[in-house]
């Protein structure tokens, strides 16, 4: 089990070590200490590793992740798990802006709150936020699921294409073309699956959630909207 102290090693050395691992490696559990808010920690991984980071991280931690499970025992700066392809990223504290931005797959779990633009342009990632999310979350979302146990800030799902948004608390306002939708059995089953995967087995009543998604009115140019441009 490699232990890396970022007070002694650089982030570049850590990431190079993680990138150099072969598919057959036995070094699958890494622990990282003293992250001290540095940027791009454990970015670009492509192996089924477990990386535990002990403390607060800076920008773009776990960016572009494939396969790996990355646990942040602290807060995360902007763009945690940005453009994730697969794997899992778990933030035990709060996440700053643009958490899970443009993510194509995998799962991002945030135990605390996420700030503005959580899941911006998400393209298939599943995001579960146990606290609240800031304004413009799921902006231009294209696919995937965003589950929020707390509240949402202003303009949730603004200009959303697709993606399913489940919010348990108050939604301050919905963005353009984002509407509330009925919660069917298949959505409930999906929500249950997401909550279970986020470690909330049976703790949360899915009946308390409301679902939001695209009204699909901005997909094509409509002559009645010409005045809006």
């Amino acid at each position: 089990m490699p232990d890396i102290d970022l007070a002694r090693s650089s982030v570049r050395e850590l990431n190079a070590g993680l990138h150099a691992l072969s598919a057959e490696t036995n070094e699958t559990h890494w622990r990282v200490f003293n992250p001290r808010g540095q940027h791009a920690i454990a970015a670009g991984l492509d192996r089924p590793l477990l990386v535990e980071i002990d403390g607060h991280v800076g920008y773009y931690c776990a960016g572009m992740n494939k396969q790996a499970t990355i646990i942040v025992k602290g807060n995360a700066g902007q763009g945690i798990a940005e453009n994730m392809m697969s794997g899992k990223v778990w933030v035990k504290g709060d996440a700053s802006q643009a958490a899970g931005a443009t993510g194509c797959g995998g799962m991002l779990v945030i135990d605390g709150n996420a700030s503005a633009r959580c899941g911006i342009s998400m393209k298939g990632i599943d995001i579960v936020v146990k606290g609240s999310v800031g304004h413009l979350s799921a902006f231009m979302a294209q696919a995937g699921n965003l589950v929020v146990l707390g509240d949402s800030g202003e303009a949730l799902g603004d200009s959303i294409y697709e993606a399913r948004l489940y919010v348990r608390g108050k939604v301050h306002s919905l963005g353009a073309d984002c509407v509330e939708k009925t919660m069917e059995d298949r959505h409930k089953a999906d929500l249950r699956r997401l909550l279970d995967a986020a470690g909330l087995n049976g703790e949360v009543d899915i009946g308390e959630f409301r679902r939001y998604g695209s009204a699909r009115k901005l997909y094509h140019f409509h002559i009645d909207n010409v005045g809006s441009y």
Partner: protein
């Protein structure tokens, strides 16, 4: 870009460490603002005295300035040297006379005035600027610093932050304002003076104008939400207060931390990592369009 650091001490036993702690906060923010740096320190007050922080060109001889000040306001003028700056203390009731005397020196700029506030800024890497002004040895109750990457105006000492437009008031800004020209004209009509064309100075002027009108710091910050158009994270200092404000869109990053001993602001968490007790501090991102304020008791 730009970086901001602010530290407000609740535990006065840390007062002698204030400058060293702020210097440590500015170092990691050099990446965000390598072209100039500045800081305001709220230090001790001598009853009846007003402090002028003055700046001259490199190697400037301040002796004629001090001589002229003594001729104008009397012998009760003391000073401390800091590279291109000096801090002059003189009887507060002689402020107008002192300003008249200083006006004769075209190469001397008044960087700031206040009962407690001293303000230093210069072009250069933040660590170099901190060292030149011996920031590590400064003490006080609160301090605000800035590392600048200029986007809206030139890289000059005048363009460096903090900006001050009133006694003991200063502001640092990360962002850019879009309605600063119109607002500057309004404020000039109200009698404020500006030293630069910089957008951030207008924000400082707006806060000053509200405070002069009788508003509390909290009220002044609330009204700037409606009046200022653009992107901003501000950290504001007054003689006894410390405030933080982000615009409603919150484009610019911000992190805060608080313990029983201090409250700190950093553009990034990296600025906060060496503060005493940070491991157990509450760390959070300040909400958009919400006024945060602390006051000395």
């Amino acid at each position: 870009m730009c970086g901001i650091a602010g530290l407000f001490l609740k535990d006065r036993t840390l007062a002698d460490d204030l400058g060293a702690l702020l210097a440590g906060m500015l170092t990691p923010l050099s990446d965000r603002g390598p072209d100039s740096a500045g800081f305001a320190v709220y230090g001790s007050e001598t009853p009846g005295d007003l402090k002028f922080t003055l700046r001259g060109p490199e190697e400037f001889d301040f002796d004629p300035v001090l001589k002229s000040l003594r001729a104008a306001v009397g012998e009760k003028v003391t000073h401390r040297d800091y590279a291109t700056h000096i801090v002059v203390s003189l009887p507060a009731d002689r402020e107008a006379l002192a300003r008249q005397a200083l006006a004769a020196f075209a190469k001397v700029a008044i960087v700031g005035t206040g009962r407690r506030m001293e303000i230093f800024k210069e072009v250069g890497l933040p660590d170099d600027v901190s060292r030149r002004f011996r920031l590590h040895h400064m003490s006080g109750t609160h301090a605000i610093g800035h590392t600048r990457m200029a986007t809206e105006s030139e890289v000059t000492t005048e363009g460096a932050h903090p900006f001050t437009t009133g006694a003991d008031q200063c502001l640092v800004h990360n962002g850019s304002l879009s309605n600063h020209n119109a607002l500057r004209r309004e404020l000039i009509k109200q009698g404020l003076t500006f030293q630069t064309k910089n957008d951030s100075e207008v924000a400082a002027g707006f806060i000053t104008s509200k405070l002069r009108g009788g508003a509390s710091l909290e009220e002044a910050m609330e009204s700037s939400l409606g009046a200022l158009d653009g992107f901003y994270t501000f950290v504001i200092g007054t003689k006894s207060g410390f405030g933080v404000l982000r615009d409603a869109i919150a484009c610019k990053p911000a992190v805060m931390a608080e313990t029983d001993r201090w409250v700190a602001f950093g553009t990034e968490y990296r600025a906060l990592v060496d503060l005493p007790g940070i491991a157990s501090a509450r760390v959070w991102e300040p909400e958009p369009a919400r006024v945060y304020r602390w006051e000395l008791h």
